[in-house]
Subunit: 245 residues, 6 copies
């Protein structure tokens, strides 16, 4: 049940304690992929996973701006501070829980949100009347995960599957040429770079040409399976905090 | 230019300092109108106004959850605190301004956001490197404004014009019957009620039957004119703070 | 019972749950009216209303500095941020409630405080152990309200009635000449101005000559009636939050 | 120049960079002295000191509610948290400084405010565009200081000098009988008590009978001298921060 | 029991509700004494006092950075804001209390921490599930206290007793020569200085030569007695808040 | 140069812009390893790395309490919130930078601190006058990293090398028996557990018997090399933020 499209009386009838909250980012994804990539992919995965799950799940509207200051040198990137992002997510989850949907998966489409989401999930689980876990789709697609990049094979693949009209195919070569091979600048296991502009000329990491629509469908399929399995696991999990030793 | 659908290289080419940020709410709108009404209408007005304006305007993605705790007794209503809402809006605007789009209209679809938006706009104008004003569409539609209500004539009309498939026509009678005539419970010019459930049985204020699709088109037309005129006014306005007396 | 002038043992004997907290501002009111106008008028209205009310009411000391940054270009204007103002009001109300005076009217004399007071009253009602409503006197004086302005007819009238020695009658002409006709600069229902110095040369809005002492007495009388009626209403009101639908 | 009673045009003419901000508290002072004692005495000292000083000084309105939770068990005591108090004082001082009155004495009448005022003064001096110091009058009255107590000799004396009608002389015996000899419960140089109700039956510390009006005049005289000397010292002091070693 | 050196299973066996939390500062102490002086002395006093006390006491690790911005002009001085310091202390105490050690002495070695510790102790006592008091060792050493200074007789004495290898004896003359006689610059009972560099050339106050190792042992002995007595007092104290009057 | 043991005049002579700040945690490490493990190991690695580095490095005192609420069910675990931790680290780094040591490595010994340290380093790099990176030693020890666990092979090995007297060898069997094999409870790439007590009986993860003192020396050696290389890299790195695209 997509909340945005249903009435409160419909919501009152939802017999579930499961909800998903898509969380994205509006940020550069190279010259070929739209700034909204992380919202689109999070929504697509949430949609696919909920459809696959055998049971009712409430779908909240996607949060469009996240932790993306690392891309600020690229025009169009929007961002809020980690603190504001965590508060916005936390309070939204708490309002879901207020209606009884108190087991929530934060379906995330952006690497920069990962740490902040894990922190706020812990805060929710320990302090509020809800259980929440972040699920970052590209971490749950098996061996594909190693190809993640940024605006690279995986994201471009999913976009070609779900929103091909938004991919600028005529700029793929340009995207590939200005891309970097990996994320960051590493010494002794430490990333010395804090901004993507420190290591990528055009914001791309990885080769977008390695992600066609077919691979996109496969990724969506894997992510949907993973999300459905996750919903299944948390639906029955004992989420109370353990006893003191 | 809708940021979500364009690349950062497109954004880099946008020759404007104008942006609009749609701001909505996900909250009850009676048994007949979707929880996403305030996002949908804010987006529709932003779209129409930008199209009418003679010049380039950047369109940010809509903020979906706002100040709506007053509706919390109705399932599906989502909300964040005023402080979190203001921070989320402010930082999003600041990131728009970071790219040079530093004259921003907050296109608002929800009455509960009005005060918080005015406050944060003042904060932005006085403290940050941007100028922002809130524009609440239903305050800019001439004599229609008096009919506003909640899930009433105006909102239902616009929905029927832009998203008729989301209006439950089969529940209009139910909506009308549980509606209240006015917003709040007033003594000496003071509204004693803080929650809509104190004065409306089903969350509706006003008669949704008085808002057909034709009226919706007229409202959109009036709001688009108003927004275009506003963009025109702020494009040339001297937004520096006045001198000390 | 004015708390400031009574002892704690007197306070212990107060058999009421009603309190009023006058809230003002120290800010420019033109060349003819004192910076303390909004405190003086709030106190006068609180005094008159409490006297008229048939029952015991605790009167807290007036809060002298409010939300007035919009007048900062005029020397002598003092202000705090909205956040600090709300915290100061909220915690003061909470301490009143701690003694059992948990139905509180915030008797306000300043337009710039209105939104912040409504927000904090909602916070108090929903989160704390008290009920509070803001009462802005010039919104409760019938048709006079349309003449409000700033340092204009209404405020000058009340000052002439309660503190004539503080009105500089020799500067009334000067005040009138530098005044603006209305508050703000409006386009499409939006006030583009954030500071009063953007639209008023000397800080005055309206004609102070239209407010003599007689009118001031009438205004006080109307405001006192309104406040007494409000106290009456909240004394018996069920202030619990409504049930979930 | 008392800001509250003068216009902004008067304020514009004030040729000084000195201001005083009286800071009090509304809190129990035994069965004989009013809850407003600390505001009254702070205002009286500010008034007397400014009059004695040979030069122009701006006088801001008194802050009426301070750090007084330690008296919360006594009805009528009002308080805010230390954080809110510091923010309210700091921002008020900053607005004074915005008009050029950037050397400010915080004339304090309440022991519970002392630490918070020192902390916020340091914050102002180091971070903001102003210099501020707290001046607690009863610490600047020579040998009298040892008799301070609470609602005891010194405060009762000053009240009898400046507001005798507010002292309940008929309750002095009662006040003396329920009083404690000293402030706190001490072990190893540490006060184990956090609330005055832990060691005083009626909130009084010290014997109010030892403070007649004559002593009150003498105290005011001493405090006025001290405040005038302080204003003199800060008017010429180099308040820039020292160089790094 | 020093937590740092024991296991959680040891901690589980600790049959006590008493804990001490040493609190220091890393800041200039003249050319002869180490930047870590206040941590070292706080730890030494905590150690000695706990040893003297007849019963089990949990010893937490020392907090090394405190409220020391007043020394910032001297290289090597570290500091955090008062707010951050209070939060760090408060939450550490709350975690001690979570394990049942809910009567905590904050053993303090730095004058600049005193006010902040008293404030946070009050916050803990009134809001959290613990009782805490600050104990500043040099305030509990009888007549010696008058000689405190900074890097002066007392601190140098204790260092010579517990860590003589860290005292640069070859710089004692230099230390004495650049020292000031007293702390601050006083007018009318008010310290006009906010930074130690305003009144001390090399950061020293008092004569370090007046504190030999023997005096250091005596000071430790006195402080240990005082701390043991304090632990004894709070172990049996009724720490509930008093009843409303 | 260890700040704690040196004077401010020594600090003034330090000709470097490099500093390390050890960051630990006081938390359960099974029945055999001390609660202070993460502080001890962070300090040991910082010490070894600084010694190996060819140049001057300032060493700040270790922060002893970190982000460890996940272990709260085990007695003796201390923790502060992520926000307080970040503020404490950030302000300490800022005070280091104030003295010119503005390239700082946060030498971290605790997995629970990793995300918070990365976030605060980004804040420092982007907002403050310093560059900081977190270095978590067990992520920089080559293939050993896979054995990390908690109180497992690596930490026990290092303890046996640097503080063997604190390892309870008589409880190693007990530690091994109650240990879990891995960290967390995983479904679809998501850790459903938020507290270590959800998956480990005695708080141990991994087999402590696999970490003897020799392995500990090797780990220290690897970590020292890595830290020295990192110091070398940041000493010469251009740490300015990149240009806007």
């Amino acid at each position: 049940m997509h909340l945005s499209e249903r009435t409160w009386t419909d919501a009152a009838d939802a017999g579930t304690d499961l909800a998903v909250l898509p969380v994205g980012s509006t940020e550069q994804h190279g010259p070929h992929a739209p700034l909204g990539t992380d919202v689109l992919t999070a929504e697509a995965v949430a949609e696919a996973g909920v459809e696959r799950y055998d049971g009712e799940v409430v779908v909240a509207p996607a949060i469009p701006v996240g932790v993306a200051e690392e891309h600020r040198q690229f025009p169009g990137t929007l961002w809020v501070s980690e603190e504001t992002f965590r508060s916005y997510v936390r309070e939204t989850v708490d309002s879901l829980a207020d209606h009884g949907w108190d087991r929530v998966v934060l379906v995330n489409g952006h690497g920069g949100n990962v740490d902040a989401l894990r922190e706020v999930a812990g805060r929710i689980v320990r302090r509020d009347d809800a259980y929440a876990v972040p699920f970052t789709w590209f971490d749950s697609v098996g061996d594909h995960a190693a190809d993640m990049g940024h605006g690279g094979p995986l994201e471009t693949a999913v976009l070609r599957a779900v929103a091909p009209e938004l991919v600028r195919e005529d700029r793929i070569d340009e995207a590939r040429e200005g891309a970097s091979d990996g994320w960051g600048e590493w010494v002794s296991g430490v990333n010395l770079a804090f901004d993507s502009a420190e290591f990528s000329e055009n914001g791309v990491v990885g080769d977008p040409d390695e992600g066609d629509a077919e691979r996109g469908e496969e990724l969506l399929d894997l992510a949907a399976d993973a999300l459905a399995a996750l919903l299944d696991a948390i639906e029955t999990r004992d989420v109370s905090r353990p006893d003191r030793r």
